[in-house]
Symmetry: C2
Subunit: 314 residues, 2 copies
């Protein structure tokens, strides 16, 4: 099998461990064997030559030749930031990548450098489109991060009522899923986690509308449609992404921005509440801090990773 470069392998591993440490285990190290599968099936290109298919002083389209998601999206993030440094705002369209993983990894890397960043991704059909009874659109992941006083503040969400990962976890444990959150493969509503496979969109037409628009922005603007291809029966694993960066210091002094974020968080924390009030991304940052000394990995996943490591075919 063609060798992935050490730089690319290190980046993918770092993105997976980052998600694992923040508590997003479904976007964590359990993905490594899946990525190897994607390489074996010829869907993930281990030696992509990412190139700029279109470029202006503020925007760029990166043709990623089915690169690993972390490799393509980090290249996109760096390009969007470079454009934003020049023009105040920068757009990178990431064409033809694979599983983009936890988008917060990219937006937070930009936020640590002083950018406000938005990232989104389009994928093959997984979630129902409002009113339909089949997998129709991606789960429309979206991340927005901004520089904070210390760590970035970051939203990292999917536009489904229940994530694919939570579905898989419920299936493993046999726990029921909440009513109205997912459909079985035959399109019938179910709370039985052994049958549930199609998440429903958050807010009905809102969640599926976001997924529709992410396909338009990331896939149709790059001339690489995913949903129509898949719905017409020519589907294979692939994703497209989009990153927008804004250079905070071009708009307001970065120190003032950090001060205002702290002020906003303080004002929100003073509100009446039943428990602790968390800012976007704070739970993940705490999980990461707690797991810095020792990262707990699911025993099954650990066994899979060990097997992968000793597999001569990989």
């Amino acid at each position: 099998m063609t060798q992935v470069s050490e730089a690319h392998a290190t980046l993918v591993a770092d993105a997976l461990v980052w998600a694992e440490m923040r508590g997003m285990d479904t976007h964590g190290v359990m993905r490594a064997p899946r990525y190897v599968d994607l390489i074996r099936r010829g869907e993930l290109n281990p030696v992509p030559r990412i190139h700029r298919a279109m470029e202006t002083p503020a925007a760029v389209v990166l043709d990623c030749e089915r690169a690993a998601g972390a490799v393509a999206m980090m290249e996109g993030t760096r390009a969007a930031c470079e454009k934003a440094k020049h023009s105040g705002v920068g757009l990178a369209l990431v064409k033809a990548t694979t599983h983009t993983g936890a988008l917060g990894y990219y937006t937070q890397s930009a936020a640590r450098e002083g950018y406000a960043a938005i990232a989104l991704a389009a994928s093959v059909p997984l979630m129902a489109y409002h009113g339909t009874r089949g997998a129709a659109v991606g789960t429309a992941p979206l991340s927005i991060a901004v520089p904070g006083a210390d760590e970035p503040l970051a939203l990292d969400m999917a536009s489904s009522l229940i994530s694919m990962g939570a579905l898989m976890r419920s299936r493993a444990s046999g726990a029921p899923i909440p009513p109205g959150a997912a459909l079985a493969a035959d399109g019938s509503p179910t709370t039985d986690s052994r049958r549930a496979s199609i998440p429903l969109p958050l807010g009905g037409p809102k969640g599926s509308g976001l997924a529709f628009m992410f396909e338009c922005l990331a896939s149709l603007l790059t001339g690489n449609p995913i949903l129509a291809e898949a719905l017409e029966g020519r589907g294979r694993h692939r994703q497209n992404g989009l990153v927008i960066a804004m250079d905070v210091a071009r708009f307001v002094p970065l120190a003032e921005f950090r001060r205002e974020i702290t002020r906003l968080a303080a004002a929100l924390r003073k509100l009446p509440a039943d428990g602790e009030i968390l800012m976007p991304g704070e739970r993940g940052a705490r999980n990461a801090a707690r797991q810095r000394a020792a990262l707990e990995i699911d025993a099954g996943v650990y066994a899979e990773l060990t097997a992968l490591n000793s597999d001569p075919g990989s």
Copy 2:
């Protein structure tokens, strides 16, 4: 009272009638008397001199001097499109405006000119922040529109489980609101529409995370914080907005983009469903077509508008 220019008055009226015709009556003509109130209270500046506070070839900050929302946001939309025409992508930050209304009015006007457009707005506290029991953040309206084969396709959503308008309507009719959708002023959950006043965020931390980030992007990047000011007790009516435009033809031929949108819609419409499958914005476009001959307005609103028209003070 200072006279609003005919151009500005016409634009505001057009935006309100547009929303009314599309079925968004809570963002329709019932707002006209509220806008006059805002002028009387000195919160809406009838004669703003909108100026560019910061500018690059791709980005601009418009200081809108408390202009009417439609005036400020249309200026922002035009500026974002002008930047996108030059640079592929354009960002306009709309600083210091008032009620921005139905954001789809702006994104759709851009989409009709061949742009993909994103608009969002930040407002005073209306919705609960996840985990709190008080009005803490805006309802985080977001619109994304793209050129369609004929009319633009457009998502136009708030990030609350129930809109402020739907709350007001339920209150007028006395109908209960769905459980878990809103809080009473004292922070207790309620289904009683006479008591419900604070909508809860869509998807808990997702909806309130979007609202937090919209404040960071539209308000903190323009040095015009709304939420912290209001939560600290110095609130008054105001909003900030953000418009991003992408010039479709710089990325793919516009005809190809329109063809692909049509193909995507056709593929989605073939999915198993219980009823008709609507594309984003389609319901609104149908409402508008149906009401083109005769627009039905609520009798109470009509009386208020008539009174406003004959009021010498206005």
